[in-house]
Symmetry: C2
Subunit: 563 residues, 2 copies
């Protein structure tokens, strides 16, 4: 076992996952919450996993790029959804990729796609493998001789930096921390922090239209992309490097969200920016969720565009340590480079005052040189909310109370580890994230909670919890994010999960939401995606795939249904 290599079944590194007493403690909490005994299960070790034999061998010219050992095949078998982690921890790896290829150049990608197209082998692009929607799982039907997963992690690095235009040319396999490390040396940041940040890549972000953890404005990778290069089996689609254009429909928007179905994103020009050095934040409490929602709506429509604007329902606030479970909590924050933001926070507090906000904490850290109202009034080390400071990587850099920022960073990036621990404790978990216009939010919220309750009644003995937060807010609506946890029956968790997943997804869609705001479609959301997507646009995507990927080998079954 290599030191530090990633877990073959769970999120990130095994050593970072709660274990021992922490795991037992979590099981105890689950037992207390749901009134059923929870026992800790140990994941099946890699050496006990049985894999089907690899069905294909690479041509000699590509052999140097390919691996077929059990670790590689298990690591690339799944993404990291609840189902993935459950099956992986059980040692179930029934349809692994036959080969894992590590292209080191774009020419390698071209050669691999050419081979796969000619040989009738499915080619699955793989960045960090953090998909929670079955985006990288080799379920490709019976039409292929085998599956090769293309792990892009060796096609990595910042290859060009245009300081005048604040843009960087980056290879697709670059992971979040490596990108930020390279930019930090120049005083810059991409400032895109999806929760998967540590274990996801630039190409994966683009292919899945990932959302960063900022609540407004420059948070989706869609808006941070200047140009992109995609390699399909039938050729290259490279967009022009311009700040904007009105020349026909935007070609880069076809690549954004293409999820590997049209080919492999190999590199992109990203818009970068100076690192923020001013931050202000506040924690607000409300007597009811309804009032908190109205306050957040007012903020979202104020034009202030806070970097952070996270509404937590009482239960979510309790779980996250941001409240005592009696009140809804809103975390609001601003940040900027080179200018104070305290006045923006004041303006935001004025907006929410009309909605009964109680300011529990307030903190302003403006840059020393030009500080206007820049005194730290309250410093709290426990709760979430210092937005920009969050995943600042090793070096930190910039203002911000090290304690609070670091705690938030750990909590934010560590959440997937806790989810994995819940799986080992026998829980059934899922998150549902959507976006909906304000006029429909209350009905959607009620529909999701009722659907979950009905699913619990059917599948989990009536036991289960639903919590909600807003991860992003827009002038025309919020992006609610539901976390569902229920006690599982050993061996039946997949079926229980299925009942919950279908009920809540049906409810989301029927109530006017989208099946995904930032988790993508993959294989798990395909059914609802087909219901949501304009049929005519589906036909266009199928035609685009036929043109770029005539043999249909690129991530088969994603976006375009298997024939």
């Amino acid at each position: 076992v290599e030191a530090g290599r990633r877990s073959h079944w769970g999120w990130g590194h095994d050593a970072a996952r709660p274990s021992g007493d922490a795991l037992d403690g979590l099981a105890g909490l689950l037992s207390a919450r749901f009134g059923e005994p929870a026992t800790v299960r140990a994941p099946v070790p890699l050496e006990d996993v049985e894999l089907p034999p690899s069905r294909v061998a690479p041509p000699s010219s590509l052999a140097r790029l390919c691996r077929a050992d059990p670790y590689e095949r298990c690591l690339h078998h799944y993404g990291r959804s609840f189902r993935d982690v459950l099956r992986g921890s059980r040692g179930e790896f029934p349809h692994p990729p036959d080969l894992v290829a590590y292209p080191e150049t774009e020419e390698d990608v071209v050669a691999l796609l050419e081979w796969c197209s000619q040989a009738g082998i499915a080619a699955l692009p793989y960045g960090g493998g953090s998909s929670v929607v079955g985006g990288v799982e080799p379920l490709v039907g019976d039409g292929f001789r085998g599956v090769v997963t293309l792990d892009l992690s060796r096609l990595a690095g910042v290859v060009e930096l245009d300081r005048r235009s604040l843009a960087a040319r980056v290879r697709a396999g670059t992971f979040g921390p490596a990108l930020e490390d390279a930019l930090r040396r120049e005083g810059l940041t991409f400032r895109h922090f999806p929760q998967s940040f540590e274990f996801s890549t630039v190409g994966g972000w683009i292919a899945t239209r990932s959302g960063g953890h900022f609540a407004t404005r420059y948070t989706h990778v869609d808006d941070l992309l200047e140009a992109v290069r995609l390699v399909g089996p039938a050729g290259v689609l490279e967009t022009r490097r311009v700040p904007a254009s009105g020349a026909g429909p935007a070609p880069e928007r076809l690549v954004l969200g293409s999820e590997g179905a049209l080919g492999v994103v190999t590199e992109a020009w990203l818009r970068v920016r100076p690192r923020p050095d001013a931050r202000a934040r506040a924690t607000l409490r409300f007597g009811s969720v309804e009032r908190a929602v109205e306050a957040v709506r007012a903020l979202a429509q104020s034009g202030l565009e806070p970097a952070n604007c996270r509404l937590l329902d009482p239960a979510e606030a309790l779980v996250g340590g941001a409240g005592d479970g009696s009140t809804a909590v809103v975390l609001v924050g601003f940040e900027a480079a080179g200018r104070p933001v305290g006045a923006l926070l004041d303006a935001a507090l004025e907006v929410v005052a009309d909605h009964g906000a109680v300011v529990a904490e307030r903190e302003v850290l403006d840059p020393p040189a030009r500080a206007a109202s820049g005194t730290a009034l309250v410093t709290d080390s426990g709760s979430a909310g210092a937005p920009g400071a969050a995943p600042s990587g090793g070096g930190g850099g910039g203002a911000g109370p090290a304690g609070a920022a670091e705690a938030w960073r750990r909590s934010f990036l560590g959440a997937p580890y806790v989810r994995d621990a819940l799986v080992l404790c026998g829980a059934v978990c899922e998150t549902f994230e959507t976006a909906v216009t304000w006029d429909r939010f209350e009905a959607l919220d009620e529909a999701v909670r009722q659907a979950a309750a009905a699913a619990f009644a059917e599948a989990t003995g009536g036991r289960g919890s639903v919590t909600c937060r807003f991860t992003h807010v827009y002038p025309d609506g919020p992006a609610p994010y539901y976390t569902v946890v229920a006690p599982g029956r050993a061996g039946a968790e997949l079926e229980q999960w299925q009942v919950v997943k279908e009920a809540c997804s049906d409810a989301l869609l029927a109530a006017g939401g989208t099946i995904t705001h930032h988790h993508a479609v993959g294989r798990d959301h395909l059914r609802w995606y087909l219901a949501e997507r304009p049929p005519a646009f589906g036909a266009v995507l199928a035609a685009a795939k036929k043109l770029l990927d005539p043999a249909g080998v690129c991530n088969p079954g994603v976006l375009v249904p298997l024939a």
Copy 2:
């Protein structure tokens, strides 16, 4: 002649165009500028225009929607580019639409497209007819029995308003002033003011990805569109009404910029907002264009996102009355609803101070209730720059010095009338607008000016002027807008124009710009569009057209070349 009907050959209403002494004065200015006598030519009146007979008659079920009188056929023959106005004023209308249809419902659109598809007749969607790129001109090759122009102006009106989500469902044929009038009654605005505002429609904006006159942020219609409905001969493409989604490539982005080639936009949900009541602006002068460019770059990268940030080179400043021709001028402005913006202007002035900006005027009009630094320091009635107040329609509403705002409004919206007058005075005119990354701007600017000079040497006796402003700025680059005016030779203006157009367009593209930032592609830009667009994306667009418009009748020759 109906009172107030639009000019059959020129911009807007004939009565609003400079005439008499004003026109003679303009001719005098041209003579003085270029050292050649300029004479005023009268446009050929409608009754002297000879039109080819209409080749098609509508089926009886559609006859009530169709017109074929000379005024309608001339009005819809051209857009309003230099070439269009020149040909129209000469009385040249050689290939008018055979019929002009005014659908009143979406069902009418469906029926018209069905008839055209079955009968082999080209169908050209037409909003306000303000295209400057040949987007509505019936040049459709030999493959059609005739041409029907679909004038959408009767499919108009705000049909639904969601106040909670700040969104309005609007029919495609709604003109700018009608939209703003309807929203103003609710205290709202769409805040999208392309220069064509008075004579362009919501559907036209969407089909051409129009740009508003604000310099940053919410200025392109792309970002203001919540959902859209497009009717093609083979069916409807309607996107879901959600604030955001990560479900596959964005379907609405295929409609944005589709220029009628995929069908007819019939309605859209637009994001509206409270009307701004706070404004601040300043006029800055610089010793050199280079320093002004660096100042604007700093502003664009500051995160302040001014509503207005317009750089005028010395000649452009002189023409627009914003300077004396000796210095570059930058107009910067902010606006907001319900909160002061004076501090933002102060921050902007701090940013540009390092680049040698001299503040010629400064004006802050913050809302009375919450004004912070809200005193009008300088009120100037002559020059451009009060952004939000600009095309506020009849009622005005909100702060802003009525004189300056009104002057700016008249100048902004009146510019096309002046261009038409220049045409009557014999000038050859064109505007080139692009966007380019900052690192390439200087080289592009030099290339365009050299190309224009070479074209003048070839075609206009070495005479001609080139001025430049930035209409929009992005963190990664500006959108330069070049205005070219040269003295024409009577009868040879089209050929002279062609030389200038090709030289400057070639130069723009070779220097890394886009062929259009906000004027669209139409027929005039097709050659450069095909060079700029990723070929694979062109194949996707052709496939999309085949699916939505199997008979290929929708605006033939636009985006997808004629076979």
